[in-house]
Symmetry: C2
Subunit: 460 residues, 2 copies
């Protein structure tokens, strides 16, 4: 009996040893392939430098759909298709313009940009006094008497002491998203929001905003001001509360237009009906070329399929790369994908999104059961050679969240976040700020997680 147990133990050990070795080998092949023959960087170069910013409904967004479809077609996948989705079309118009006047005729220009979804100013622009606040909660304290007829200037900075810059962003973004809706209730004629940027510089950062249920006639224009502009305006206001602020923008919301999610698929060999998604969003803002947000996530997702094929791995489950349209100002692509999946009763078991920039990957955050997180932790040592160390519960991604169900694993790639908000939604989100190796390491890290979940399955 003892001998049999010993024998079984030996078998067990050797099988485990073998499996671990096989996984180590597969991950090494994935990383080697990404670092020596990765395609992500070339694809991103095209998306960024040949196409550029890809705002929903724009010609560039359509070009990006066609380009990425053609690239996926060239990979020899089992299926590549476009999934139709109606998207909003908002257009910035001519460049915005702003200055403040400390006395008549003495004015200082400041860099601004319209927030996505904002209405235009009247043709001649708006000129009014400025009321600086540190957040929406200040409006009530000030009341209508002090706000009516003025421009509200939201100036709460991102908290620099928070190490994850995404957490710091979350602590400020309400000013941008709901600032206009709330200020309009107190009779403000416009709002100016400090850019969500931890660095002091001259780039205004756009981003989505909402008027909630404010009637069209009561909607007020909303713009972001660069962090340096915000500091200058705030300092000047302290010396002279009477200054006048002028801004002009002629952005416009059009009717919805046709667009697409782009999808490529490798059919599973054992469980073809179990679907694993890896994705990013193909649309971007219009100011830069959307390299970090989220060209990076798209080309990494495409490269995940290519890496699995190039390393000779045959997935048991169906693996899809999904390039979602319209994350930035509508989430129509993510919602449409989930709606179609539900309509077709597709069984999604796993989804991973990369939408935090093409920086050195540090790990993943997981929206899943404790059992599945425990399984992930059992893979930690496999990731160690690649300095991948974060495996925490947390947010996955805006586009995949609509798929959420209790028995699936949702995950988000977590790259180093220190430089993300220097570029996010601004003119300087451009290709030269993406490092090729960092981008490729991200793709390899994603492919490795997909490989492991495909091989070992999702814990029920």
């Amino acid at each position: 009996m003892k001998k049999i147990i010993l024998f079984l133990l030996c078998i067990g050990l050797s099988v485990n040893g073998y499996t671990q070795n096989e996984d180590e080998k597969q991950l090494k092949e994935i990383y080697n392939q990404a670092l020596t023959d990765g395609k992500a960087y070339d694809w991103l170069n095209y998306l960024s430098n040949q196409i550029g910013g890809r705002l929903s409904g724009s010609l560039q967004a359509q070009e990006a759909v066609e380009y990425t479809k053609a690239q996926l077609d060239s990979l020899g996948l089992d299926r590549v298709w476009l999934q139709p989705v109606k998207v909003p079309k908002w257009v910035r118009g001519t460049p915005e313009f702003a200055y403040f006047e400390t006395s008549p005729g003495l004015s200082t220009n400041v860099p601004i940009c319209a927030l996505g979804g904002s209405v235009a100013t009247p043709l001649q622009g708006i000129k009014a006094g400025v009321v600086e606040v540190q957040g929406i909660e200040d409006l009530q304290k000030l009341g209508k008497a002090k706000i009516e007829g003025n421009i509200v200037f939201y100036n709460r900075p991102m908290d620099p002491t928070v190490i994850s810059t995404f957490a710091s962003y979350s602590g400020c973004v309400d000013q941008r998203y709901s600032g206009a809706e709330e200020a309009a209730k107190y009779g403000a004629v416009g709002i100016i929001v400090r850019s969500m940027n931890l660095r002091l510089d001259d780039y205004p950062h756009t981003g989505s905003m909402s008027y909630g249920d404010t009637p069209v006639s009561k909607r007020i224009p909303a713009a972001a001001i660069s962090t340096k502009g915000a500091e200058l305006l705030s300092t000047t206001l302290k010396l002279n509360t009477e200054i006048q602020f002028y801004f002009k923008q002629n952005c416009k919301q059009f009717n919805d237009v046709d667009s697409f999610n782009v999808i490529g698929e490798i059919k599973g060999s054992e469980f073809p009906n179990e679907i694993m998604v890896v994705g990013g969003h193909l649309d971007s803002w219009d100011l830069g070329d959307g390299s970090h947000d989220d060209g990076a996530g798209c080309v990494q997702s495409m490269d995940v399929l290519r890496l699995l094929k190039a390393t000779g791995y045959k997935p048991k489950r169906t693996i899809r790369a999904v390039l979602f349209m319209n994350e930035e100002n509508g989430l129509r692509g993510g919602n449409k994908y989930a709606e179609v999946a539900s309509g077709k009763k597709e069984k999604h078991v796993f989804a991973l999104e990369s939408d935090a920039g093409g920086f050195t990957p540090r790990g993943f955050s997981f929206d899943c059961s404790d059992e599945n997180l425990k399984q992930v932790h059992s893979w930690k040592s496999l990731f160690e050679p690649y300095y991948i160390h974060l495996f925490e519960k947390g947010y996955s991604g805006a586009d995949i969240r609509p798929l959420k169900s209790d028995d699936m694993v949702l995950a988000g790639l977590r790259p180093d976040s220190q430089r993300y908000f220097v570029h996010h939604h601004a003119e300087n989100d451009t290709f030269e700020h993406v490092n090729e190796r960092e981008l490729e390491l991200g793709a390899a890290t994603m492919a490795s997680l997909v490989y492991l979940f495909d091989k070992y399955g999702i814990v029920k």
Copy 2:
């Protein structure tokens, strides 16, 4: 008895609990102070943009000595002083120039720069055939017959599949350091080395080289070629082995000159004779402004002292920031510091160097006993909120290594390494490539380790 044990256990737990909380609080204060009121970035701005590249023996190196001394003086430390050290003085001269000729009159320029310490070419330059090799070991295979009278072109690239780029660098740097000495033995008239850079671009990367004991009359000029230049030259050679390569440089080695290490000190309150060093090197190469290599390490080390003071921590041991002179082409500063310490019988118990760029810190490598590494591992959870996760045995730093003794702890800061060799020793090692938060997180991480080793001591 049981009650007493229980009582003692409770005391023990509460003392531990309290201590852990105190450490958590101290680290939080250090990081907060660095991220909200850090001085490292401003100092680096001055070093990089007002002074610039600080090659040993140059006017800029002397200016850097004076500037950093004045800044340390302003911190209210217990003592700030200059430690004299003779340094070599090598000067690049006028810009280098190179081209290759595929046929007479048909030439293509390529970007090169002299390696530090190289001799000049003759005034009219050198023109010769090119022999491409993948490393020093190829020379013997080719032999004198094929090498004599030619220029040896060392073209082994850094291995992209190695995740730590420093390991990849180590695998190539022998070509640069000893390439000329070895090729001269086979009658080569000059050498051209592929730049130590994982990216393909147009910047040649300089760095130190040695002629070993080659007599002066037999020394041949050595230059680095940009990675794109190397690819072009290699491709052209495959089509036409007969091409002629021309290069010209008029660099020169002068006699040694006077310089200094810059040292600031906080006297220990309990064990003033136990010395802890934190440092970087103040000299740099001359092509860029030496922001990452190693302006970053200098200003971080200075900020460690300031952070400890600003958070109200009174060290038990004596803490010194040492800005070493001449790491790049001589290590005279590091050797001098160790020599003086030994002469004065100073007891150094700890030394930490930051010389791997001002990128997001990931942890430290330690050259110390297992017991001390175990102690470090007991602090892991304190560093987790800051995403500091690497605590491995390994290399510390060139300048502090001469201090090494069996009962001291040597450590090196380990920042993310993916972008380091894009900038290292090249014209694009400049201030705009340093992110303020990443730099500050490094300083805070260093200060935290110094705090913990000061508080808990070195394990004997």
